[in-house]
Amino acid sequence: MKSTLKVSLGLAAGLAASTAMTGASQAEDLTLCWAAWDPANALVELSKDFTTQTGIGMKFEFVPWTNYADRFLNELNSKGKLCDLIIGDSQWIGGSAENGHYVKLNDFFDKEGIKMSDFVDATVVGYSQWPKNTPNYWSLPAFGDVVGWTYRKDWFSRPELQQEFKAKYGWDLDAPKTFAQLKEVAEFFQNREIDGKKVYGASIYTERGSEGVTMGVMDVLYSFGFKYENPDKPYEMEGYVNSDKSVAGLEFYKSLYDCCTPPGASNSYMGEGIDAFKSGQVAMHMNFAFTWPGLQKDEMVGGEKVGFFANPAGPDGEKLAQLGGQGISVVSYSDNQDAALQYIKWFANPEVQKKWWSLGGFSCLKAVVEDPTFPESQPYAKTFLDSMAIVKDFWAEPSYASLLQASQKRFHDYVVAGQGTAKEALDGLVKDWTEIFEDDGKI
């Protein structure tokens, strides 16, 4: 009887201890939420060092881009505790700051000696600050991204094509310097037979559901002179959003879609663009820089076959590009905020940032990107730097989702469905955006 009692007590004690240990380890585990894409895999690899150094386990919740915003904004809005850390899209910053989803990081940065001046200025404004251009920080710039272009260097360097192109357009076939040149190159390749296969000019963003067509159109409109608002009078959009220059930019985007994209590319975004380029369908490909490491490594179109160029200039020589990328934030509903802040401190370390870049993550730390060896570190590194120097972002207001859906509709209706004129689309957009800001009490 005594021995049975001893065994029972021993088992109970063991069970209690193991339960306590499990509880302790679970309390220490951090969950990081992000999109399911290549850089996320690099982050998993990178975070192993954090676990080794601190003993804090890392769990990851990655959601495909098409559901990324829906899933995580739902999570934040419902004050869910799933994510301790979140790498949220740049446009979420206003809403997440104003609605208390993110922990304000100013005090933490001061305490730990993390300086925002150590990060690329555009990424600090784009990913961390709310209100913009004020020293209120809600995240640490985590992944720099920008829309740029890739092209088939092997096709561009074929003597017979170069000769024909020069004869037709009067300049050497090369990565275009202006949007007018880009269209000429796209027209040149459209429906051309290369190696027995019909190819097309360019893959551009046309997706309707989430943010695709807006990202593509804005990427072009900025360089044509589009402005979101009167710089002297916030939220005054009449004459800026629908200026003559903006109209010309939107007309250009439609003409590019009509003349030079693969048939049926009416709902194309990041994934479809990668597919079109990888399958050898297109000569040029608009996409975010995160796609470049994968394309560079691709057996079919990578290596010497692929080239990269930053957004070309608009008619007046202005050169701007759509900002992508994200910052990493601590979720205010998390029970593990201290450990999450510890992760951010570790992630801001220059050595970690260097490794982040080497694994395929686009670091925003100046010490990494301004290193003299950086432009030569990867074939796309210089284009990335050039592109990050000219970025501009979409609205990051708390109502960004409504603003985005309005532009998605107006742009898709005009560019893809061919309904109305560019002027009507932009006038309609001014009307929609004004109504949204009126609802918000900002006008």
Partner: protein
């Protein structure tokens, strides 16, 4: 074994004795308090106990959200702004929706989709049911084959039809091109404003015609053979038999199929979302896509609740009128 005089089973007494004993034993084994409680319950109470879980579930997952949605529809509530004050806006959301051109465009797209899918599915479904009802050799096998599309998941159907519609590699476009001579790259089923609505109608018809066929087949099989035999005796032609017997007697079933498909297609979301996402432009943006965008992309919860209530009332009202007509047809 029976009692030869009375003809009753001889086991009756024995059985009742055994049952009585078992009941007594059960009563003895039951604790007093419980026994009293059970004995104190009326039949009505027992019935309530049995249906209570269902009613609670119904209230929790249907009625409560409905009442909540009605309440939200009169507010400016946004689910993505939990800290913002919720204001009562009266009928503003309803008035905005009913005066919004985009809403009416979505309703128009929905009406176009519902009308054509129901028309095609009813015509093809009834024709197939009529053929299958002939009971030709192998009809059971063909019935199974025809039913396959409706057994597939809409997600699977949407995705593979997207491939079939591909201008460069799609089988559908290849077949159309083969017969018409139009280059495949000009057959933009999902990108063309004119073709995209029809692309969705084709897929929905392909998938759900078997369902209509099944209901129509049940209707045709329910017609007693003697009516046709009497018609034969009266030398009624096949055409006459069809118009005077088959169609009127199968009509309630056809109407039932139309009702089911009408309700389903009025709230169609998955197929449209997968095939076109509402595009190109807003050409195929049916009401449920608009509703989803308002609720979960723009986060206008109050506004989208009002829209959902309007859709609910529309479907509920139309379905009620339809059911009344259906009952009148059945009672004829």
């Amino acid at each position: 074994m029976q009692d030869m005089t009375s003809g009753k089973p001889v086991v009756t007494d024995t059985t009742s004795t055994i049952l009585d004993r078992a009941a007594e034993a059960a009563a003895r084994a039951t604790p007093d308090t419980l026994a009293k409680k059970v004995r104190g319950l009326s039949d009505r109470m027992v019935a309530w106990i049995f249906i209570a879980p269902t009613i609670v579930l119904l209230l929790a997952i249907n009625i409560f959200p409905l009442i909540w949605a009605i309440q939200l529809s009169f507010t400016n509530y946004r689910a993505n702004r939990p800290n913002e004050e919720i204001k009562n806006v009266g009928l503003q959301n309803y008035s905005r929706i009913l005066n919004d051109a985009d809403t009416w465009m979505a309703m128009q797209a929905t009406a176009h989709f519902v009308f054509w899918t129901i028309l095609l599915q009813t015509l093809i479904g009834f024709s197939l049911a009529y053929l299958i009802d002939r009971k030709f050799r192998g009809h059971a096998f063909w019935t199974t084959i025809i039913l396959v599309p409706m057994m597939l998941s809409p997600a699977v159907v949407g995705n593979f039809w997207r491939f079939l519609y591909e201008p460069q590699i799609g089988l559908f476009t290849y077949i159309v091109s083969f017969f018409t001579g139009i280059p495949t790259t000009d057959i933009l089923m999902l990108s063309s404003v004119k073709l995209a609505p029809w692309a969705i109608i084709i897929v929905d018809t392909w998938m759900w015609t078997p369902y209509v066929m099944l209901i129509c087949l049940a209707g045709l099989r329910s017609i007693p053979d003697y009516i046709y035999e009497a018609a034969e005796v009266d030398r009624a032609s096949n055409w006459r038999q069809f118009w005077s017997i088959t169609l009127p007697m199968a009509l309630p079933f056809i109407m039932l199929a139309v009702l089911f498909r009408g309700i389903e297609n009025f709230k169609m979301f998955d197929m449209v979302n997968l095939l076109t996402g509402g595009g190109p432009g807003s050409t195929t943006e049916v009401a449920s896509i608009t509703l989803k965008r308002e609720a979960f992309e723009k986060w206008r919860t109050g506004f989208s609740s009002a829209f959902a209530i309007i859709l609910f009332v529309a479907v509920f009202g139309l379905a009620n009128i339809y059911v009344k007509v259906l009952n009148r047809v059945k009672s004829r």
